[in-house]
Structure formats: structure tokens, C-alpha cells
Symmetry: C2
Subunit: 416 residues, 2 copies
């Protein structure tokens, strides 16, 4: 595509040529001609996944059948994949488990945290948190006889000064999923701990996108999905991190047979397995787990600090493209310009967000929107190039200036 700015094209080429992660793009099967900026909703297909799944279907399931629970280590997959994922979120082995959905893992973590802080009756969450985080906080509060308080991260200190003694757990995301704002995880964690509360991080928009040194932060719990920056596939199972220092005392709310200390004893009474394994509940979703395990090999040899450096270069470049190409066209960047406060996406506010995103999609530049008026462009350092972002900005410029899009709002009930 002809760009409106030869200088930006030259800069993109320079940055991409100097990018040490550029070869990693070949680990993904991206369709030709598509610029994919929605990896923050669903990561693309890693090249390692299809051969793995073919093996899982034909050899492991089809030929080895039930024996695969032992012979192909299906039984240990939730813990093995958990450890592989733990390396990306600063978790030493034995603290991360993969299985179920983020919602279920959230319920487990919220319940466990509440029971580790008996007598404290408040669950604090962010009013801007993703809906499931808010709804599950309400569910956990109802089932445990607690109350939810909505406190913005910037107001946490003031809130804890007034009511901190009643707070059992602070449940936040490092990233505002709409604006792409990155909160100060270390400072918020320390603030919660000073008040005697535990902290639960939802890493859906952080895991695989930036370093999250959970152990070093002394975080208590974390959860996140496997299908965004980790590219584990649609509805890939989620993860749960529980810090080792809680392993002697934590209690999970839903007791399933796979979390039993002696699962094949099929005993009458529940006795929790040691460590993170007690958070296992039902039979693990093997296809999704092994797809995620294969997907995580895309990070082999990649340092999360490199990922963060490139991610910031990408979002910085896109903000520059926006400033140069989209000025005076009704766009307002809502992602902070300050790199310390910027996650791995750029969000632009525009009254015709829906129509513009659809028009981009029809021209093979795939982003997404969040109602009512935010266009979201997610970057993934493993495969996004600066050139991809210039293509997106150029197309957005052309679409907006020519009016080649439908400005009517979306139908209810559709994935946007």
C-alpha cells in the first residue's frame, strides 16, 4: 500500500531490519496479506500447534487410547504446562496450574484469598475491570458472605488508608483492557500488603506481552487466559498462580477428584493434594492444554525483556503514525504516551469506531473495538512488525478521509 508518509515508511523499514525478534514471526502461520492486530483477543495459529494436535489425535488418543494418561503424561499436563507458562510470568516451578477458564480460576483465587484472610469482609476490585472479573467478585462475595468495593487503582491508597483493615483481597489487572493503560503493579502490590490484604492479578492482557515478575513482586495469586498473547487457541485453558508461601494453608472452594491427594484411591472424603495441584478440579481439557503447550514453544529462547522493548517500539511507532497521519480526523489516542504506563496495545477513540474497524477488516487489517467508541490495536512482539502498523495507520487514514465505511452502530449480541 502507498503510504502517505515516505519518512514513516523509511523508519518502519529501519526498525524492522534492526529487530532481533523478527525471525520469530516464522513461528506463526499468519495468512498472507493479513495484518493481524487482534492478538490481544485471539492470538494467531503457531506453527507448532498443528503437528502436535495431529499427534495427539492419531497417536495419543487414537492409538494409545486410555493409556495416554500415563504413557503420554496427560495426567501431569496441567502442572507441566503450568510450569512452562510460569517461566513467562516470573513464577518458579510448582506454583502455576493450567485448566478451566479464567472465570473459574478467578473464583478459585478469590475464594482462597478470602479464606486466607478470615474476618476481613471486603473484596476490592476495579470498576473498570473486565466484566467477568467484576461479576465473579460478586459471585465470590455472595457465596462467602463478603462485600465487593469498586476502587480505581489510582484511588487505592486513599481507600486502604480508610478501610484497609477490612480488605481481604485486592483483585486488579495490570492493564485496562479498553485503554491499554498499564498500572504500577509493584506499587499496588505493596500497598495491598501494607494493609494486610492479599493481591490477585488478572494477567489476561499481560502474560506473554511483558515481564510480570510474580515471585519477585511477592504477588499472592494470579490468573489469566491462554488465548491472547500466549496464542494457545480459541478458548484455550486458563492459568492460576498461587505463591508457594500460601501452599501450606490455602483452601480452594471447589473440590474435584483430580485435586485429591490420592486421586486414584477414589476415597470417600476429600483430602487436598499438596501445592498448586489442589486447585485441579475436573478432568483436564487435553486438546486445549496440549495446543497451549505447543504454542508456548514460540517463546523458546525469547527473553520477556526483549518482548517488552519491541512492544514499546511498536506502540511508540503506531502512536507516531497516528499523530502524523490521523491528526484532525476525529481520533483521540487514549493509551498513555508514557511508556511506563503503556501496555501492548494502542486504543484510539473515534465516534465511528465500529464502522472503521469493520472497514479495516474487509481490507485485511484486523483490529477490534470496544463499545461504544474505542478502536483497539494489539501488538505482539513475536510477530507484529512496524510495517504492519504503518499499513494499518495508512489504511485508517484513507478509510476515514474517503468516508469508505458505514457509521451505524453494531448489532447487539455480536462479537465485535
Amino acid at each position: 500500500m502507498t503510504t502517505a508518509s515516505p519518512a514513516l515508511a523509511e523508519l518502519a523499514a529501519e526498525l524492522d531490519t534492526a529487530d532481533p525478534l523478527a525471525p520469530i514471526r516464522d513461528r506463526f502461520l499468519l495468512p498472507d496479506g493479513v495484518v493481524y492486530l487482534d492478538g490481544n483477543s485471539l492470538g494467531p495459529l503457531p506453527a507448532a500447534v498443528p503437528p502436535t494436535i495431529t499427534d495427539v489425535l492419531h497417536r495419543q488418543w487414537g492409538t494409545d487410547l486410555i493409556r495416554s494418561w500415563n504413557d503420554n503424561d496427560w495426567w501431569d499436563a496441567p502442572l507441566r504446562v503450568g510450569d512452562a507458562l510460569g517461566r513467562l510470568i516470573g513464577a518458579a516451578p510448582g506454583q502455576t496450574l493450567v485448566g478451566d477458564s479464567t472465570s473459574i480460576q478467578l473464583f478459585t483465587a478469590l475464594s482462597a484469598a478470602a479464606r486466607l484472610r478470615p474476618g476481613r469482609e471486603l473484596l476490592v476490585t476495579d470498576p473498570g475491570h473486565f466484566p467477568t472479573d467484576r461479576y465473579l467478585a460478586e459471585s465470590a462475595a455472595r457465596l462467602h458472605g463478603l462485600r465487593v468495593r469498586h476502587v480505581r487503582p489510582r484511588d487505592l491508597d486513599a481507600f486502604l488508608a480508610a478501610e484497609g483493615e477490612q480488605v481481604a483481597v485486592v483483585s486488579y489487572s495490570p492493564v485496562d483492557y479498553r485503554t491499554g493503560e498499564l498500572h504500577d503493579v509493584a506499587t499496588l502490590t505493596r500497598a495491598a500488603h501494607r494493609a494486610g490484604a492479599l493481591v490477585l492479578w488478572d494477567l489476561c492482557h499481560a502474560a506473554g506481552a511483558m515481564p510480570v515478575p510474580l515471585d519477585e513482586l511477592e504477588a499472592d495469586f494470579a490468573v489469566g487466559c491462554g488465548y491472547k498473547f500466549l496464542s494457545g487457541g480459541p478458548g484455550a485453558p486458563a492459568f492460576l498462580y498461587a505463591a508457594r508461601r500460601h501452599h501450606d494453608s490455602w483452601q480452594t472452594p471447589l473440590h474435584g477428584w483430580t485435586g485429591h491427594a490420592d486421586p486414584f484411591g477414589l476415597q470417600r472424603d476429600y483430602a487436598p493434594a499438596p501445592g498448586i495441584a489442589r486447585a485441579r478440579i475436573g478432568t483436564p481439557p487435553i486438546l486445549g492444554l496440549l495446543s497451549l503447550e505447543a504454542a508456548l514453544t514460540a517463546f523458546d529462547g525469547v527473553d520477556m525483556a526483549q518482548v517488552r522493548t519491541k512492544s514499546l517500539s511498536l506502540t511508540d511507532f503506531f502512536l507516531r503514525c497516528t499523530a502524523e497521519l490521523l491528526a484532525d480526523l476525529g481520533f483521540e489516542p487514549v493509551t498513555p504516551a508514557d511508556p511506563a504506563r503503556r501496555a501492548s496495545q494502542v486504543s484510539l477513540r473515534h465516534p465511528h469506531a465500529y464502522g472503521l474497524v469493520r472497514a479495516l477488516t474487509e481490507q485485511q487489517v484486523i483490529a477490534d473495538m470496544r463499545a461504544p467508541d474505542i478502536l483497539r490495536f494489539g501488538v505482539n512482539a513475536l510477530y507484529t512488525s512496524h510495517r504492519d502498523l504503518l499499513t494499518a495507520a495508512t489504511l485508517l487514514h484513507r478509510t476515514t478521509t474517503t468516508g469508505a465505511y458505514d457509521p451505524t452502530p453494531p448489532d447487539a449480541g455480536k462479537v465485535t
Copy 2:
């Protein structure tokens, strides 16, 4: 293999020749030379699954990417696969949902039942129920302030006569997973209803193996896994049935964004979707769901009454083989001889169950055992033949009489 009984060989050949379901076996990719009698733990690979998953990986995920939530109907998959599965369990459309694990679906159903019967404080379950059913009943009781009572199905009438007014829900399985005994689902359902209680059926060992006319029975809730007789694959998602008459009033315990009335509105407050959809919680596990959907096509054109007729013929024949070939070798059949009380498996008690099952497996006859002393032989009318069962009985005869097995008990912590 040379059989010890030419008469049984002749009978097996006659029965297999007359079997109207014999051609259905080609819908499964069973390995050559293997007799697979563990479909009641993990069904084999249906031929329809690999091409479906190849399409899901390369076209739907790899090429269509995030657009697949709409364009390939990923969003509706939990309800669509639920309706397809509902046909096998006597459920009219709109009452069955697929997703999460059996354990999570159990928690949803137990909680919903308890909240439909406020003021009643007992959850009744079977002391012989599968561990997860018992553990989850305890979890639900603790979180809802209720108590669990363990009552055998044969003692239910007496218990309800004494304490029926306090019972919110009776949570049973039609099948004892160890003995293969089939309970009288209709009588037990009526007994619970007469006491004003609701009934929850765990169909893990029934769905796909026999007709279960849930609507006709006026059952309230049912759950079950997708990976046994339904052959959906390892850790396939589970199902939840909630009778339509409860849809106006039921409340689920865990509120996730996909169960919201307006999921893409991303609203601050939870408002439940109408019907069965409110039991959706997190993002659905697409690989497992679409594998299960493909697997269910193995039932196309098959009447569940035919499945039951053939299943009884198979277990009847195996009991006959046992009586003729294994007499005086230390085996005690624990599955009822009465066909009305027999599910789709035959269990034999033997002190060396573990070693015998291992010896069979090494010779390509795959069954399983349940500690401490039960050998389980599951039959699936879609692919098991009478000849398969004669092979198993003949091999068991030879192994036992020659002592060609290790009589030591199993290691703890292994899938047996």
C-alpha cells in the same frame, strides 16, 4: 485367538452377523488388533474428528482468526453442541449446554437446585457416587450453608419419609461406576419429587450408552462428561441440562461474562441471559467443543433404543462367557444379571484385578480396574462386537489359568 469354546464362537458370529449397528464401527478409528473395552473411561477416536480439527486449526483459527466467533459460529457452539447432545438424552432443544468440566457443571446444578428450594437444607447424594460428585456436594453445601446426607438409592424412600421435607436436591447417577448396576431412574425421580425435592442426574456413565428420557422423566437437572460413551476426546467439555420449567426462576452460582444477557455490552452489572445460556461462564473451549460436536455425528441415524438393545446383548453375552470360561477361577460378577438393572459394562471382582488388567492390556485387550479388586469391561454398542468380548474372556481365561500376570497391587497415583 483359539477359543476354549467353539459354541461361544459360533454364537458370537451369529450375533455379530445379525447386528444392525455393526456398520457403525467404521465411524471409529480403532487400532488394528486392539479390543477396546474402556470406552466407559475414554471413548476411541471417531473418524469425523481429525478432519474437523484440521479445519478448525487451519481455516477457522489460522485463516479466519478472531472473525470465527461470528463467521464460524464459535460463539453459539456451547448451545449448538448442547442441542445435538440433548437429542441423545431426551432433551428438547434449548435445555442443554456444553462447556467446562463435569465438576463445574455439578457445582452449577447443585447450587441452582439449592436456590430453587430455599429453606430446605439437605443435599442428598449416594455414598457410592463418584468422588467428584461427593466432594462437590460438600463444596456446594459449605458455600450455601447446607448439609450433605449420604443415602443409598435403595434407602431413598425410607430417608425421604423421615426427612424429605428438608431435602433440596437428590444428586444421583443412574449407574454405579464400579459395579455397573443401573438404578431405576424414573422411580427415584418420582420419589424425590413427591418429597418436594429436585433431582440431579449425573449421566457420565449413561449418556450415549442407553436412552435417558430426561424431559419425559421430568428430571430437573443433569450433567455428564463428553469423553466416555460420547467419544468427544480426552477431557472433552461436559454438559449441563436444566429443565425448561426452571428457566424463569433459576439462578447460577458463578457469573461470567458469556452468561450475561448482553455479553458484548460489557456492562458493569450482571444480568443473566435467558434460558440455559445463563449457565455459560467463561470463554468456551473451542477445540474440545468442536471435537465433541464431530464425535456426536457417530450417532447420526442411530436410535438410542437400538443402542440399549445391543448393549444388553453384549453384556449378556459377556456374562455368559464369564460363566462358561471363568468359572472357579476366582471371579465374581458384580454387575446384575437382571437386564433392567444392568448398565453398559460388566464388572468382575477378583483379588488380582490390577495385575490381570495389566496383562490383558499388554496383549491388546484394554479394560480398566477400580481399586481394590474390580475389573471393568465397558461395552459401546457403536463399535463393540460380541467377538471382541469372547476374545477378552478367552484371554482372561488363559492369563488366569497360566498365571501369566503380576499379582502385586498398583502404585499409588497412577491412572489405573
